[in-house]
């Protein structure tokens, strides 16, 4: 593992930020503070961070309905995000997008996406631009184990191979699409092989282990960035909450959630991995924890206090210009 101390601290901070953002969002939704449909990323933090730590602002990501983690990992402003969840006019999307559409183009975040597999074709477009411009950028799309069965996802994978563009397809298998298990919805026995059948290499990771994801994503991104065409990452992990907040989770085995939180927690795993390595101490991580908690508190306070949108704003931002000047 070739990560510097700074990199380690940063990776941990990012994962912890996602975790606390989500746990707090969960609490506030239960409190009735946040409207709409919200899908939490808790438990999958290592995926987003393990991938995005290889990217800079010029690279792009496109996310899913479960987008908070990817956006934070790619550098979205946490306070702006919380304000967006609150539907404030000061939110990252002025309260027009909400949880399912958090985006920050400047930071290469082409948006969460409410349409399952809406993102991969768009990501191929970003990768195509990089190829045409020869600017060395890569374009990453995230998909779930359910999303990979949508036609648009297959089309995007094939087109990326045909055009040999630097597109990276990250598949996050959290075993469920809403209430259905991957063993039902993906007909074949080997999703990695089915994906590789499209003509690009897929690197497998333990999605609960930052280092494993970081390693696999590094290979995939390097493959794409070097002009070899697309690559994939396949990470297995669990989500600690229901599909949406309020999901009764009838699909879970007895003890499944406890087991996940106990044995598949990327934060615990990270601490265990760095423990005793002499590079990063538990106290430093504790300090980060405290800072993150403070940041999330600040974000919530800011969101509560932030300006509400007004009726006139409904019709703004549809077009850059509509009708003649």
């Amino acid at each position: 593992m070739n990560l510097s101390r700074d990199q380690l601290l940063r990776a941990y901070r990012q994962m912890k930020t996602i975790r606390e953002f989500e746990e707090r969002a969960h609490a506030e939704i239960m409190n009735g503070q946040i409207a709409g449909f919200t899908h939490l990323y808790t438990g999958q933090e290592a995926n987003a961070v393990g991938v995005c730590e290889h990217l800079d602002h010029q690279d792009t990501i496109i996310s899913t309905h479960r987008g908070h983690g990817h956006c934070i990992a790619k550098g979205a402003d946490v306070i702006g995000m919380m304000k967006e969840l609150w539907g404030s006019a000061e939110g990252l999307c002025k309260g027009k997008g909400g949880s399912m559409h958090v985006a920050d183009i400047e930071k290469g975040i082409l948006g969460a996406n409410g349409i399952v597999a809406g993102g991969p074709p768009i990501s191929v477009g970003s990768a195509l631009a990089a190829k045409i411009r020869k600017n060395g950028r890569v374009a990453v799309s995230f998909s779930g184990d359910g999303s990979v069965n949508q036609g648009t996802c297959f089309e995007a994978m094939n087109l990326a191979v045909v055009l040999k563009v630097p597109a990276v397809f990250v598949i996050e298998n959290n075993y469920y699409s809403e209430h259905t298990n991957i063993s039902y919805a993906v007909g074949c026995d080997d999703l990695k092989a089915r994906t590789e059948g499209f003509g690009f290499p897929v690197f497998v990771a333990d999605g609960a282990d930052f280092f494993s994801v970081y390693d696999a994503a590094g290979k995939a991104i390097e493959h794409a960035r070097s002009g070899n065409g697309p690559a994939g990452v396949f990470a297995e992990t669990g989500r600690f909450h229901g599909h949406f907040v309020g999901d009764p989770q009838y699909y879970r085995a007895d003890g499944e959630l406890d087991d996940l939180r106990e044995n598949s927690c990327c934060l615990k795993n990270f601490r265990a991995r760095v423990d005793g390595g002499g590079v990063v101490s538990a106290e430093e991580l504790d300090a980060i924890d405290a800072e993150v908690m403070a940041l999330i508190d600040e974000a919530v306070s800011a969101a509560r206090a932030a300006a509400r949108p007004t009726a006139e704003q409904v019709t703004e931002d549809v077009y850059i210009q509509y009708g003649s000047a």
Partner: protein
């Protein structure tokens, strides 16, 4: 008569239709739920809105069929099964997802009969949760029925209450043409009296929700209640209105609308979709042609603006027509 929510009324219709006719089956994402899951609780979910609840347990895996997230394949599967004699009821979770399966609806299912010279029948029903009111933003709040209305070959149903929903769905399932059934999701929890027994409501027959002399108001789906509230509030001002709920936009009960406009001379059309090429324009244009000589005032449309649906509750409240806006517009055509 027992009160039932629209969700329960639709669910009851599905149970009864499936019991009556073994060619009826439901198919969609999580219409059973928990397939492949370690809990073994298959059938516990019944759709993300609970509309297909209990069907798996009552009718088994061959008649309550979960699918991958593949809307084109879902619609195609329904269309193909219908072509060979089944009566599938497919669920597409949100009407917005028509975007990923439009070809199968519009160019396949809706055109078979015509392209095949009248020699096929495709009695498939596709159900959708439609419309706004949940802060679900741009990709989970659209009505889409106005868009589907423009495609010949399809029938389009938009129930506005639990009673109608049950009768219209039973008609849809028995109907021999493909039917798109839009369930305004804001109404799932709204209850009214719904008989336990089976009954059907014919397509192309509007309901008169209110009767009056001064203005004809036509409203669809979620807007019917709001229009009724607006009209009731205006009674105090001595204003009385016809309120027509067409219930199906294709076929459309043109006669009901035209007769009412002939009588009132004034028309306000209300829908929650954006204004361009929508149902409000469609009906306004109908009157401007065929009831022109009766018209005493501009024909007014009340709709969402030409914007996507915003997320923020305040923005969405300003986006979807409310009782106030309907009232103001009715007054406007009387001014």
């Amino acid at each position: 008569m027992p009160e039932k929510t629209m969700r329960d009324a639709i669910n009851e219709a599905l149970h009864q239709a499936m019991a009556e006719d073994d060619s009826v089956f439901v198919i969609g994402e999580d219409v059973a739920g928990c397939n492949g899951s370690p809990s073994g609780k298959v059938g516990e979910v019944g759709g993300v809105f609970g509309v297909t609840s209990g069907l798996y347990k009552a009718f088994g895996p061959d008649r309550c069929i979960d699918t991958p997230i593949s809307e084109s394949a879902i619609v195609g599967a329904a269309a193909g099964a219908a072509l060979v004699g089944m009566r599938p009821v497919a669920e597409i979770m949100f009407a917005d997802f028509i975007g990923v399966c439009m070809d199968q609806i519009v160019n396949q299912m809706g055109k078979f009969r015509y392209m095949f010279g009248g020699k096929s029948r495709c009695p498939a029903v596709i159900r959708f949760a439609s419309g706004g009111g949940f802060s679900a933003a741009g990709q989970h709040s659209q009505s889409m029925y106005q868009v589907m209305t423009s495609f010949p070959g399809l029938k389009v149903v938009i129930p506005s209450n639990a009673y109608d929903a049950k009768g219209l769905l039973l008609q849809a399932i028995r109907d021999d043409d493909p039917v798109l059934f839009f369930e305004p999701k804001a109404l799932y929890q709204e209850a009214c009296e719904v008989p336990d027994e089976m009954y059907t409501l014919p397509f192309g027959e509007a309901a008169f929700v209110r009767e009056g002399d001064d203005v004809t108001v036509v409203a669809f789906g979620q807007m019917v209640n709001r229009a009724a509230a607006a009209i009731d509030a205006l009674e105090a001002d001595g204003i009385s209105c016809d309120l027509i709920d067409p219930r199906t936009s294709s076929p459309l009960d043109e006669d009901a609308i035209l007769e009412s406009v002939e009588a009132t001379g004034r028309l306000v059309v209300v829908d929650e979709s954006p204004p361009r090429c929508g149902l409000t324009a469609d009906i306004a244009a109908l009157a401007a042609d065929r009831a022109f000589h009766a018209l005493k005032a501009p024909v007014k449309q009340v709709s969402a603006p030409h914007s996507p649906t915003p997320f923020s509750p305040e923005l969405e409240a300003a986006y979807i027509p409310d009782v106030e806006k309907i009232k103001t517009t009715i007054k406007e055509v009387l001014a």
